[in-house]
Every structure is written in structure tokens, then in C-alpha cells.
Symmetry: C2
Subunit: 336 residues, 2 copies
DNA sequence: ATGAAAGCGCTAACAG
DNA sequence: CTGTTAGCGCTTTCAT
């Protein structure tokens, strides 16, 4: 019935009794259109069920009104939520947001960037799993549209939004140290990418400043590797850690598993701080003290930067830093 | 340097010393092009770093080579993986796959479908959170391209890929009953959508057939609601259940939480079968017996159906059923 | 097998 | 403020 896809701007113009150009201007809220004319055109469009043809528009205007995201992992709540929020915000501005998950494989990431280029995306936001792949870096450097890099140490002359792992980890360590903990077990992701690298460095520095040793550490191979066995082993000795700082979702749940297996209760036998806040931390009983990113702030920052660059802002590339907040809940107490 | 985006098919044709039309035919592997000509054109394209303009192509050919997915939740491992696999498969066929997450809100779902229509997507696959919203259904019915519905009871004349919850739940119940369990606690999602509805029905039927009562059930408000308190309450009595069948990821982890709090070990004190297989089930210690969907089969089915319809297959709409497999691991044993 | 030409639907530049 | 016109880059007739 609606026969969508058949009605062109010509039909709208005819029905509104104006020229094609005027119809276009009216619908795009261009300056210099009489309010009355605009109303007439809009009414005609509505009555006809007019839907603009995105391809024609992109071809002519050289803007696809498409934004792309390249992340490693869709299941990661951080990225899933970032994508959701970004999508909402960009939709308000008339953009459609794509996402591509690479599982961290460099070849996939390169292909995705290439596809993005062919499709003429207006901008992309990337957090690739790989910070050093030459191919990917070249593709990114040559990318014909603005890029925002999220929490990766890659230098391609693009704007970046970076997380303040340093302050976050320091806050966690000093909270725990203040509670009286002296043996704190870090369970962090591998160091081949910015978050892992920075967390490890910050942790070591903070511990050193607090005069504490770091005899043991658990480093999952990937951000999603289970660490059950490693955590069990690390907690086996007589001088076991009395507190842990644990990253992520998968890693966190397998660490929790290990505690359960060892018969260690949180927080009585083990204090715990999670890096990143999600359903896993809030739904846990007791709710977990966590390092939470200011997600809304981050999305606003990314979106604003994206929009500004799309609109032609030509200033120097800029780095912005997003803070972590230590949300204190029930998973920490002084050691026994 | 590469100056991408500037080289058009004209440049390629000129360099190859052929006409524009021939260049197009050569690159699209159209019939009736001399092998030599094709080679020349392809070489020219490569040397120039030619990238076809997707918008122009879409405008002229009336095909965007874009596929859309409309799911409720990106964090849900099932959808995240379905999307990943589908994307891989469709990329091989030259399509880019978009995804949109609605969080189950009908208005968002309607807007997403509308956007998909404007963008001229070649096909969409949908698993909306809402099966009855009139607006959404109308939009879907009028959608100008093929649709594949995933596990939803919506009748819009589209092909569907449905999960066999009935056989799956029955297999789980009869396995547990065979082990000697008589009190089995179901922890299922709400019944306002196909999976929840079918699971509940199948569970009741299977229990009745096994001659077992269902005194208690836990039904989270949404597929992601925590059920800690409800599970604790349900397991409080003297005749507590000795086995549970639990859905999802979030629900599952909060149920596991509840067991830990109650001091109930799996499987010694409580047998447990998870609906859906993910890192949560495989990484748990002990690994959880789970109802696993044949994901590869599902993706192949969806992709084939999509492709066939895009290519004009005009047969009657079809329903396909995907089986669940009961993967036996360490979380079940006879009741004490 | 290839070349020439038309035109997809739209926006932007230029007149009036 | 509005009408007219010229393409955007490509695929697809229609000739040859």
C-alpha cells in the first residue's frame, strides 16, 4: 500500500506546488525558506510518506551521514554501552552508527577500516585490539575522514579520548592500603595494549609509594581469558593476598569463581575492587566496590569531537582524559 | 598521498584504455568481457588504488549491499555472536552488516526499522523485544526488503528461524528427572515473548508428563533482571528444589550468586542446567551442563535465506527450526 | 566484446 | 525567497 521507496522529492515538490530545489531546501531546514512554504512542503511529504533516498543524498552531498565504530568485542559491556549511547546521540544529529567487532584480529580490523573507507563514512571511532600493526596504522593514517581513538596509544594524528587508568588504579590501591591491606593481588589484562600497560605501571608505582611489595600477579592472556586456576594458585600460599583488584567481566567472574572454590568470602576473607562497573559488579552480593568510568561524559566528549571534526573544525588534534571514580560498595573491609 | 576517494571509475577506464562501461563490467565480473581486458582493468584499478563509491553504486543499482540487524541487547552473548558470525558470512558476499540494539523499547525499534528503510537496506534480520506493538508490526509489514525473524512469534509474512525451546526444555527436564530429581526450580525469563512463553509451557508439560509438581518458579521481570533475592526465597523452605534450570547470562550469574550465599554447592547440593551456552557456563567451575544452540547452523540458515530472498527467491515464507543440544558437563548429579 | 549515452534522486550553484 | 540547471559516480541499456 504505502509503496515506499517510490516517492521522490519530485513528487513532494509537485504536490506542494513548489520547485524541486525549494522542496529540498525546505526539508533540510536550509536558511531562506518562508515558514509557510516549509510547512506546505512538510505536509506534502508527510501525506505522501516521502522517505529521502540516502544513497542519492550521499552521492550528491559527499556525506553518508554514517559513523563507524571499530571495537574488539561486542560482549564487553563497556563497548556495548558506549556504542548504544553514541548511537543515540548521533541519531539525534541525523547520523546512523555502524559497529564492527574484530575479536582483536588485526586482519579483520584492517578490512573493517577499508570497508568504512569505501562506504564513505563521515567519521569513525576506533579502539582496535592491536596498537602496532603496520597495515592497520597505515590504513588509519590515510583514512579520508575524521577519527577518534578511544583509549589506545596509537599516533595517527587523530583526536583521542583516553581513560585515566593511572589515577584510577592509584585510588584503588590507596583505598585498600588505607584499610590496612599489605598484600594486594593484581588481576589485570595483558600489557600489549594501553589499558593493561597503564594499569600495571600505575599499580606498581602506587604499591611502591605505599611501601608495599608485589610478590605475585595474575595476567590473563587476553581480556577474556579465564583465570580460575591462576587465581587459585596465587591464593594458595600461607601469606596469601588479602585484597584483589580485578579487571573486566569474564576475568572477574572467573576470579569470583576461584574465591568461591577456595571458600574465601568477600569481603570477610578477601577485599575486592573491580575495574569497570557493570551488572556483574552491581548485582553481586555483596555489591562490588568498583572503578567506574564516567560513561556519559565520555560519550558526550566523543560525540562532540566527532561532530566538530565532521563540520570542519581544523584545530590541532587533541587528547581528552576520562576519569575513573572509585565507587565504594560492600566488597572491601580491613584485613582480618 | 593516496588521495583516496578522488579516483573514479573514469580514471581507471582511461588508464586501462577502455570505456567507462567496460571498466564497470570488468570489475563487476559481468559476462562478456575478454579475460585480457578484465586483467588490464583490474591492474589499472589496483595501481590507482581505486575504491568504488558505494553511494553511487547504490543509487544506480538500487541495492545498498547493506544488511541490518535489530536486536534487543548487544551484551547478550547470543546476539553478539550471531551478529559477528553473520557479519563474517555476509562480508564474504560483499555485504556490510549493521546492528541496532533497542533495549526492548518499542519506540526505538520502530525508529530503527524506519532508518533501515530510508537507508535502503537490502534485507534485515529482527528479534525485537516486542511482539505486539502495532506500530512496529506495521512498519515491518511494509518494509520494502526481505526480513528474517529470529525466534519471535510475529506474523508479517516473513521467513522465520525459530529455536526449539520445547525439545530443549524437555531434554533438560527428562535428564534431571532421570537422575532422580523430583523438585526442579525453573528460573526463566518473562513470558511476553516467544522464548519465555515456550519455555514455560514446555517445562510445565514435561514436568506433568514426568509426574512431577511445580510448586515454585522464579520469573525475572526482564531477561536481565537479577534474581538473587527470589532464588534465595525459593530455596529457603525445607523441601527445597534439588535442581534448577536457569536462563541467560545475567540471570544465571545472579542465581549462582544466590547459591553461593546459601552455601549450596553445585552439583553436590544443587544440580543446575543453563539455558544457552557461553563463557559463563564453560568457565564456571565445575563447567555447567547447558542447552546449546547450533549457532553455526543458525547463521548459515539465516544467511542463506537472506541471500536467496535478496536474489529474488519468491517462494512462500518459511519457518526453520534450530535445535538445542543438551551438553552434559559437571553441574548435575543425583540428588542427595 | 566494447563504446556511447542515459539517468538513478538528490543538493548546490546560479539566476532571477 | 524561489525556480532552473548541472552534475555527484556509477550501472545499464542500446548500438555497434
Amino acid at each position: 500500500m504505502t509503496e515506499s521507496g517510490k516517492i521522490t522529492i519530485r513528487d513532494v515538490a509537485r504536490r506542494a506546488g513548489v520547485s524541486l530545489g525549494t522542496a529540498s531546501r525546505a526539508m533540510n531546514a536550509a536558511p531562506g525558506v518562508m515558514a509557510r512554504t516549509r510547512a506546505t512542503v512538510e505536509a506534502a511529504a508527510r501525506e505522501l510518506g516521502y522517505q529521502p533516498n540516502a544513497a542519492a543524498r550521499a552521492l550528491r552531498s559527499r556525506s553518508s551521514r554514517l559513523i563507524g565504530c571499530l571495537f574488539t568485542d561486542l560482549e564487553n559491556p563497556l563497548y556495548a554501552r558506549l556504542y548504544n549511547s553514541l548511537q543515540d546521540r548521533m541519531a539525534e544529529e541525523g547520523f546512523v552508527t555502524l559497529i564492527n567487532a574484530s575479536s582483536g584480529r588485526a586482519d579483520r580490523e584492517s578490512r573493517a577500516v577499508q570497508t568504512f573507507a569505501e562506504r564513505g563514512l563521515d567519521a569513525i571511532v576506533v579502539a582496535p585490539g592491536n596498537e602496532t600493526d603496520a597495515d592497520l596504522l597505515a590504513l588509519l593514517r590515510d583514512f579520508p575522514a575524521p577519527i577518534v581513538v578511544v583509549d589506545r596509544d596509537i599516533e595517527i594524528g587523530a583526536d583521542r579520548v583516553l581513560f585515566d587508568h593511572d589515577a584510577g588504579i592509584r585510588a584503588a590501591v590507596s583505598y585498600l592500603a588505607g584499610l590496612g591491606h599489605r598484600r594486594i593481588l593484581p588481576v589485570f589484562s595483558p600489557i600489549d595494549t594501553r589499558p593493561g600497560r597503564m594499569r600495571s605501571t600505575a599499580f606498581d608505582a602506587a604499591m611502591a609509594e605505599a611501601g608495599l611489595d608485589v610478590p605475585l600477579r595474575v595476567a590473563p592472556d587476553t581480556p577474556n581469558s579465564p583465570v580460575f586456576a591462576e587465581v587459585c594458585a596465587a591464593l594458595a600460599g600461607p601469606d596469601r593476598a588479602t585484597a584483589m583488584i580485578v579487571q573486566g567481566t569474564h576475568v572477574l567472574s572467573s576470579a569470583l569463581n576461584a574465591l568461591a572454590r577456595l571458600g574465601l568470602r568477600v569481603p570477610e576473607d578477601m577485599s575486592l575492587i573491580a575495574i569497570g562497573d557493570s551488572a556483574t559488579t552491581t548485582d553481586h552480593v555483596p555489591a562490588l566496590t568498583a572503578l567506574r568510568l564516567d560513561r556519559d561524559g565520555m560519550v558526550a566528549l566523543i560525540a562532540d569531537r566527532l561532530l566538530a571534526r565532521i563540520r570542519g573544525l581544523d584545530g590541532p588534534r587533541q587528547d581528552d582524559v576520562i576519569a575513573y571514580e572509585l565507587v565504594k560498595r560492600g566488597s572491601c573491609m580491613p584485613p582480618a
